[in-house]
């Protein structure tokens, strides 16, 4: 019995440590985002990679990293079974990617129709 309690105590300390570490990571990432969003270094704004500035890539990648930590550590996805993890994450990631791709391609196409001068839209 004494052994069990000691074991649980140890587990709880590890869990708390994990929580505060993740909080630290999330805070640092947010601060980095805000600093970059405030300064907007011209190199990051002007350099493009796959038709988007690398500043925006940075924001999006940092956001996905934050999402990973929230889901894995705070929502305990890391302790769930492999099956549950895949059911939730794969489904979500696939459908969201599909949705985004199709809508952004359409949006860019409509912008092109506007700017190519088929329609007067500033009068």
């Amino acid at each position: 019995m004494a052994h069990d309690t000691a074991h649980q105590h140890h587990d709880s300390n590890a869990a708390k440590k994990r929580i505060w570490t993740v909080f630290g990571i999330l805070s640092v990432l947010t601060i980095v985002e805000v600093i970059f969003g405030y300064i907007r270094p011209s190199f990051f704004v002007e350099t493009e990679f796959v038709s988007m500035s690398i500043l925006n890539w940075l924001f999006i990648i940092l956001t996905i990293v934050k999402a990973y930590y929230i889901t894995w550590a705070f929502m305990h996805m890391e302790h769930e079974s492999k099956g549950l993890r895949r059911v939730v994450v794969w489904t979500g990631v696939f459908l969201i990617c599909y949705l985004i791709a199709i809508l952004l391609i359409e949006g860019a196409y409509i912008e092109e129709v506007y700017t190519k001068g088929y329609i007067t839209w500033d009068f």
Partner: protein
């Protein structure tokens, strides 16, 4: 009895062979995960629609740093995004207290669960309050703009390119000094929207008299800044294309630029705020159940864990809203 049993399937012992719980989660937790998944798809639908509209108007979308630059008690200073960043921290921190409450629940420590849940509720309330403040600033507006025939807007700047409010541009007497028609005073219960504080004629007069003023259009130049027209073109645009005054924002018009910008702002942050609000309500219910000792008697604090999942999801969505609405 024996002959009612199913013949051996040959899959005994396999994970998905039946008689096992492959996902190792209770029904309630599983359903919370599936709810979160579907809700995540709803939110990504909204954000993708926002992306669609932004791509469609990519050459004239409002600049978020110019719109969301208020900070409480620092009136008039330009503080882009700092307030939203603060809100993000409040929400992340309430997520931390929530996960601490779940952790305390695992150890059956009722008092700690109570403390941490109370802190989480407090964080949620502060966040909803901050969002209300953000909304009120957005609706009220700061500088005002002139609407053109095409539905696009003109904003005013001085020689340095700094924004000038309509009241400072406007000059001369207000021609028609009439009162706003309200339902209680008007004929046949008709009313109208709030009247602008200045008239278009006053703005035109004032603009003609002050030589250093320019207008800027919604169009973004190569540096990602709004195009400032020269003096002649400014006068031409204002006098020949201007049809009205826009102050603040509503669902159809706003002084920031594309009308869709305000629509998406209201819709996405509103839907998220509604989630935070309902999260606070659910947290309160669970909180009182904890106080009453319901889960102590039940021998499991899994309910705290389930509401925790929802609360973290709200935080997760905000991380994305923050990026796509304020940063990108």
């Amino acid at each position: 009895m024996d002959n009612t049993a199913v013949a051996k399937t040959g899959t005994e012992g396999r994970l998905w062979g039946g008689g096992k719980q492959p996902l190792k989660a209770s029904y309630g937790k599983l359903m919370m995960w599936f709810f979160i998944l579907s809700d995540a798809l709803t939110f990504s639908g909204f954000l993708a629609a926002y992306g669609f509209s932004r791509f469609k108007f990519s050459s004239e979308w409002p600049i978020a740093d110019e719109v969301f630059n208020h900070f409480p008690f620092l009136h008039g200073t330009d503080a882009p995004m700092f307030y939203v960043a603060l809100m993000t921290f409040i929400l992340i921190f309430s997520s931390v207290t929530m996960v601490l409450a779940v952790d305390a629940g695992h150890q059956m420590k009722k008092d700690k669960v109570v403390t941490y849940m109370a802190l989480t509720i407090l964080g949620g309330l502060i966040f909803v309050g901050s969002q209300a403040w953000e909304w009120s600033n957005f609706i009220k507006g700061e500088y005002g703009a002139v609407e053109m025939r095409s539905g696009k807007i003109l904003q005013f700047v001085d020689a340095n390119g700094d924004r000038i409010a309509l009241e400072k541009v406007a000059m001369g007497e207000q021609e028609s000094l009439r009162e706003r028609q309200t339902e209680s005073e008007g004929i046949w219960y008709m009313d109208e929207k709030a009247l602008p504080s200045v008239t278009l004629d006053q703005v035109k007069t004032g603009f003609a008299a002050q030589n250093d003023l320019r207008v800027r259009t919604m169009k973004l130049n190569e540096d990602g800044e709004k195009t400032i027209l020269d003096r002649e073109t400014s006068l031409d645009y204002l006098n020949n294309r201007g049809i009205g005054i826009i102050e603040g924002a509503n669902m159809t018009k706003n002084e920031y630029g594309a009308p869709l910008f305000a629509d998406f702002f209201f819709f996405i942050t509103g839907f998220h705020g509604f989630h935070v609000f309902s999260g606070v309500v659910i947290l309160c219910i669970i909180f009182f159940n904890v106080l009453l000792g319901t889960y102590e008697k039940r021998g499991s604090y899994e309910m705290v864990e389930k509401v925790g999942l929802y609360w973290h999801f709200v935080d997760l969505v905000w991380v994305f809203v923050f990026t796509f609405f304020y940063l990108v």
